[in-house]
């Protein structure tokens, strides 16, 4: 196992939480109701906390003196390794819920498996994240059922979002060389096994939400290898604006 592979694997986990947390942060002050505003901000905070722990660890593994802030604020889009689904724009509340649900279900399976990682520090971070992610998934799955099995309008909106976002899910579950190297070392789970558990979990909620599982679709994006949709760069421009404009600023 190479430290470069470990570094990139940690960045995938960290950047997915960071980017998704930043997206949810865009809802603060704009959500449909105060309770949902608070919930999305709380989930964003958990994700940001997970990202900080993972980025700090990644920086230590890399050994070039980059801390969590340097990794979060001073990398360009092509160096981000989040899965492409995480960077997709919020759209309406229903679309945000669909994106959140698909990723919560994935993160829960992933973190449960990573709690048994041969890498003790990663296992510790994952065991903590599992508890938080269970709350996230209850929220997003609960809303998906309410919206899917709700009015004709709410159903149509989440069904359209699901159709649009589904093509990004294959990336979550298709291993590449880094995933395979981590799985062989016992650091990460096999994505083939994870795919089965994810499909079962997601399928059950979609059924309850009266939503049809979209057909598999090919995809062109490999966010975890740095090949992103056009949305990430715009998001990072805002997220990184302050530390890049005023290097070293504190407040």
């Amino acid at each position: 196992m190479t430290s470069s592979a470990t570094f990139h694997y940690l960045l995938r986990l960290a950047d997915t939480s960071l980017v998704l947390g930043q997206r949810l942060g865009e809802w603060v002050g704009h959500a449909p109701a105060l309770e949902e505003d608070l919930a999305l901000a709380n989930i964003a905070l958990d994700l940001l906390g997970q990202a900080r722990l993972l980025l700090s660890y990644a920086g230590e593994i890399e050994g070039h003196g980059r801390d969590e802030d340097a990794l979060a604020f001073l990398r360009d889009a092509a160096e981000f390794c989040n899965v492409s689904l995480a960077e997709q724009p919020n759209g309406d509340f229903g679309r945000t819920i669909v994106r959140q649900f698909l990723l919560d279900a994935w993160q829960l399976e992933l973190y449960e498996a990573l709690s048994g990682s041969t890498d003790a520090r990663l296992a510790g971070i994952a065991a903590k994240a599992v508890k938080e992610t269970r709350y996230h998934l209850r929220f997003s799955a609960g809303w998906l059922v309410r919206l899917g099995d709700g009015t004709a309008e709410s159903h149509a909106r989440v069904a359209a979002a699901l159709d649009e976002l589904w093509r990004f899910t294959d990336e979550l579950l298709t291993p590449d060389a880094v995933d395979q190297e981590m799985a062989a070392a016992g650091v990460a789970p096999s994505l083939a096994g994870l795919r089965l558990r994810w499909e079962e979990r997601v399928g059950a909620v979609l059924e309850e939400a009266t939503l049809k599982r979209p057909a598999a679709a090919s995809y062109l994006w490999h966010g975890k290898r740095g090949v992103h949709t056009e949305h990430l760069g715009h998001m990072l421009a805002e997220m990184q604006h302050l530390p890049r404009t005023f290097p070293g600023v504190t407040w």
Binding site: E35, E36, L38, A39, A41, N42, I43, L45, D46, L47, L48, G49, Q50, R52, L53, A120, R121, A123, G124, I125, A127, K128, A129, K131, E132, Y135, R138, F139
Partner: protein, 151 residues
């Protein structure tokens, strides 16, 4: 014993968000150890992103420095992850007196309104004003209240 003195100081360091709970009540102090390099205090965060964690670590260093316990390293411990079961009995009583229902099994039927004691309560949201609290409403006294989350 120096470690007893450290524990005494830690019992005076309050959570910045719930100022009736000390860090010992909250169950975030995992150990106080002495070795050749000095004292080590192990602190575990409640939630990965809880902003209070850094404030707590700084408050601990400052409180120990005021007692001239300078040779202390405050360390972050992630494993095993914090659980609301580590809240002390005294901490649970202080929470209730402060108006926050103590953590209980997840069913809303077990939650009692900290103001009037009624079990006729409804969960408004599993997320509240801080990562560690959920938002409830009492149907008897019609007051909203926080519940310390079970995690």
């Amino acid at each position: 014993m120096v470690s007893e003195q450290v524990w005494r100081v830690l019992r005076s360091v309050m959570d910045p968000e719930i100022p009736v709970l000390s860090v010992v009540d909250l169950g975030v102090v995992r150990y106080v150890r002495a070795d050749g390099a000095g004292l080590h205090v192990g602190i575990t965060p409640t939630y990965s992103g809880c902003p209070a964690t850094e404030v707590i670590q700084r408050s601990i260093r400052e409180a120990l420095a005021r007692e001239e316990l300078e040779d202390v390293t405050v360390e972050t411990v992630l494993s095993p992850p914090w659980t609301s079961e580590w809240l002390s009995e005294e901490g649970r009583r202080k929470l209730e007196a402060f108006g926050i229902a103590a953590p209980t099994a997840r069913s809303a039927a077990n939650v009692a309104c900290p103001r009037c004691g009624s079990h006729e309560v409804q969960r408004v949201s599993e997320f509240g004003s801080t990562p560690c609290k959920a938002h409830y409403r009492c149907d008897d006294c019609i007051e909203p209240f926080d519940v310390f989350k079970c995690i």
